[in-house]
């Protein structure tokens, strides 16, 4: 992130010719603090994940409160396609790690593994749309019960986040293809963190909506 380049804090002074600490670099940090405190971009990302988490905690508390009153419904069961989508998304977390490992070892194939990640992500989105359409066709409507409402709302919001991640993905892909990443740099790692987070969030939402 060139965003960081203006500053000259001691943390970076000492590490001026060492690349920012990525998971691979693991320099333990010097000066002001190691790990996450040595990398503004990573800290910013984690803070951002914190706010998204709070957003879904807000929805969760609403979900729990709302479940106790009338009009909840609750007869909605997960359509089989939803399991497939879940597997697709989890697989994409594996492929993005594959890309990272190749980059770290400076092996070829980074772009291919990344491409697989993006494709799986797109398939997931398409799969979610298919789930909604089949449910609507079956007469499972948004306003018919509060459980339905939460289902569409939460899955929809998750897809919105995923689409945002896919835009970021395009940037990452372009940089990877033009060899803009060197092993020490962690733009890909940041993206991977966000991507894993969305995978984890999906599993959580799945459990919330259908298991708990």
């Amino acid at each position: 992130m060139t965003a960081r380049t203006l500053e000259q804090s001691p943390v970076h002074h000492q590490g001026a010719d060492v690349p920012p600490a990525g998971p691979g670099a693991g320099d333990g940090g010097s000066g002001g603090g190691g790990g996450i405190l040595a990398d503004p971009a990573r800290l910013g990302l984690w803070l951002f994940l914190g706010t998204i988490t709070m957003l879904f905690i807000g929805f969760t508390s609403a979900y729990i409160a709302r479940r106790a009153s009338a009009g909840w419904g609750g007869e909605l069961t997960p359509p089989p396609l939803l399991w497939v989508n879940t597997l697709l998304l989890l697989a994409s977390s594996v492929t993005v790690e594959g890309a990272r490992r190749r980059l770290r070892r400076w092996q070829p194939g980074v772009a291919a593994w990344l491409g697989a990640t993006g494709a799986l992500g797109l398939l997931f989105v398409a799969g979610q749309v298919a789930v909604w359409r089949s449910l609507v066709a079956r007469g499972v409507l948004l306003a018919a019960s509060a459980h339905n409402s939460f289902f569409y709302l939460l899955t929809g919001l998750h897809v919105v986040h995923l689409l945002g991640a896919l835009v970021w993905f395009l940037v990452v892909l372009a940089k990877a293809r033009r060899l803009r990443y060197t092993p020490g740099q962690d733009g890909l790692g940041l993206f991977a963190t966000f991507w894993h987070f969305l995978g984890g969030l999906w599993v959580y939402l799945f459990l919330l909506l259908f298991v708990f």
Binding site: M1, E7, D39, P40, G50, A62, S69, G71, A143, A146
Partner: protein
């Protein structure tokens, strides 16, 4: 590679006007943009307050002339104009919304936060300058949407700044529940998005970009306030986003998150064609919980910066180290933490288990402890000091005064018993205007006078500043103190004509007094705007350190150049409160002066 880019970028500050002053990535420009925008919004919200006050004092007068300016607001017929009740609701709703979010969350936090954070932590800019610029350009459309909502056909939102359902959830409930409420939601989403971008920047910059030697416990208290405020914002606003999303679904897609079954619109029950309730099981209380989970931390988002400014200004002008620095930090952390677990005190009469109410009451009263710590520390800082009565110092002492008087009524309201009597009366309006609105506003004025050199390189006029302070201070109390009495006497808030009730008629003279005071208060703000613009262009040149203060921002030019320090960034050797150290050669030692300076070698 990164460092090369740094030097290149540093050397070639943008030259074109549009990149330098409009779409700037420089934190100082962005801070000033935020500040000026917020102050213009304050003008609007202040004018709305004047309309509110005029109506409350003389609802029976002829307002034909106002009807000409606000055609949708007044019924003019037969040569006589009266305010429409729904217009009054729009007035206080938009007044509250604009003041809380677009003025007093913005000017101190986004305005002074952006201006001061890199200067006080010793960084060349914020951690993510592009995101910073983007955040302002997300904020501005939010302002425009909010302002534009007055001009849509059915008028602005009218459900209060809290936007409780069902007024906010049923599009047909009152005129403002239609397009106006939609625009309220859109404006808020823009605001929250921009505030979130700012928050990410604040926390990251303060944690990551501190200069050498500047440990967290050497930060000025203003920086601690900004740090905590950013965290509060990042953690609390998502709850309101969640609530707004559900509200949109209720409004437009027929869901029942907040709308219960037993509900009627214009006395007609809302039913489906089959005769069953249109909505089922939704709970307006759910909105209240989500709203206040944000709402209470939000009032500390307004207040904490003012408390930070006050500490720094107080120390500078009493020429004393701030008393109990670490306890100040702890107190702010404590306030920040407690603010997340007390939201229920806004809902004592909404219906909740008495045991839960008790828990919320106890939590709320606990906040008095860190608050008192701060007040005693301030008083101890002042005690037997040689005060320099500059304009910023007057404002800082004003903050302390308001913080005490507003805090005392807070202890009443914190308990469910008294609150059942006082809830939704003018007593509450008095309380929050003193502690939240007043303290934050005075903090902004103080900070403006204090850091004006770092904005424009000049000092504000002291005589004008003092006149402005005394007028504001006296009329502020004149406006809001009597509201306690009429509130206890039963004068409810959010009512366009209190005198439709026999028992409120005797209160009219007090309301007239309040309004006169409010009108003077409003008019006195002209002094500020004149002073601001005059001083920005014609004020006395400030020099680097006009107040003989210690922070890093005073080690560079006024205004600081692009990149903040022309040469190396200074290193830090001490905290910023080294005043009147008997061992030092001067009465103050700046943060960047090496150890020898303090010992007097």
């Amino acid at each position: 590679m990164a460092t090369h880019a740094a030097h290149a970028e540093h050397a070639h500050a943008p030259q074109a006007f549009i990149w330098k002053y409009v779409f700037s990535k420089d934190h100082k420009v962005i801070g000033i943009q935020y500040y000026v925008t917020a102050m213009l919004m304050a003008l609007v919200a202040g004018l709305l307050a004047m309309l509110i006050r005029v109506q409350l004092a003389w609802p029976e007068k002829d307002y034909t002339w106002l009807g000409k300016i606000f055609p949708m607001g007044y019924d003019v017929g037969g040569g006589f104009g009266v305010m429409r009740p729904e217009f009054y609701a729009m007035l206080f709703t938009m007044h509250g919304t604009i003041m809380v979010f677009f003025v007093l969350s913005t000017a101190p936090v986004s305005g002074f936060g952006n201006l001061l954070i890199p200067l006080q932590v010793g960084a060349r800019d914020m951690a993510f300058p592009f995101l910073n610029g983007l955040s302002y350009w997300t904020f501005l459309p939010g302002c425009l949407v909010i302002l534009a909502s007055f001009f849509v056909e059915s008028g602005a939102a009218a459900g209060g700044w809290t936007s409780y359902p069902p007024l906010s959830a049923l599009k047909g409930a009152v005129p403002g529940s239609g397009t106006g409420q939609t625009m309220w939601i859109i404006g808020m989403v823009f605001f929250i998005a921009s505030f979130t971008m700012g928050g990410l920047n604040f926390v990251t910059t303060i944690l990551n970009l501190r200069t050498k030697g500047l440990s967290m416990f050497r930060l000025p208290l203003t920086m601690w306030a900004m740090f905590l405020v950013a965290i509060l914002g990042l953690l609390a606003f998502p709850a309101l986003v969640a609530a707004c999303i559900m509200l949109v679904f209720d409004r437009h897609y027929g869901t029942s998150f907040f709308i219960p079954a037993q509900i009627a619109l214009n006395n007609v029950p809302l039913l489906t064609q089959a005769g069953t309730p249109l909505h089922q099981g939704g709970s307006p209380l759910l909105w209240q919980h989500l709203f206040w989970f944000l709402g209470h931390p939000e009032v500390y988002i307004l207040m904490l910066p003012a408390l930070g400014f006050t500490s720094d200004i107080l120390s500078t002008f009493s020429r004393r180290p701030i008393f109990g620095y670490k306890s100040m930090v702890l107190a702010m952390c404590g306030i920040g933490f407690l603010s997340f677990i007390v939201w229920g005190h806004h809902m004592f009469v909404s219906g909740m288990s008495p045991y839960l109410g008790m828990a919320f009451a106890v939590g709320t009263i606990l906040i008095a402890v860190p608050s008192a710590v701060k007040v005693f520390n301030w008083l101890a800082t002042l005690y037997r000091s040689r005060i320099r009565f500059t304009t910023p110092m007057l404002w800082a002492m004003g903050v302390i005064s308001l913080f005490i008087s507003g805090g005392l009524s807070g202890v009443w309201l914190a308990q469910a018993g008294p609150d059942i009597h006082l809830h939704d009366t003018m007593f509450v309006a008095a309380h929050f205007h003193l502690i939240m609105a007043g303290a934050a506003l005075f903090g902004v004025f103080g900070a403006t006078a204090y850091w004006f050199p770092k904005m424009f390189g000049r000092l504000m006029s002291e005589p004008l500043g003092k006149v402005h302070f005394w007028f504001t201070f006296i009329t502020y109390y004149g406006t809001f103190f009597p509201m306690h009495y009429i509130g206890i006497a039963g004068h409810m808030r959010r009512i366009y004509d209190p005198y439709q009730y026999e028992f409120l008629k005797p209160l009219q003279p007090i309301n007239e007094l309040i309004t006169m005071s409010a009108l003077i208060l409003g008019a006195s703000q002209i002094i500020f705007f004149v002073n601001f613009f005059w001083s920005a262009f014609k004020g006395k040149k400030a020099g680097e350190n006009p107040w003989e203060a210690n922070g890093l921002e005073w080690t560079t030019q006024s205004p600081p150049p692009h990149g903040n320090w022309p040469g190396e960034i200074p290193e830090v050797h001490r905290w910023p409160y080294e005043y009147s150290n008997p061992d030092a050669p001067r009465d103050h030692v700046m943060q960047h002066e090496p150890a020898g300076a303090a010992a007097g070698h």
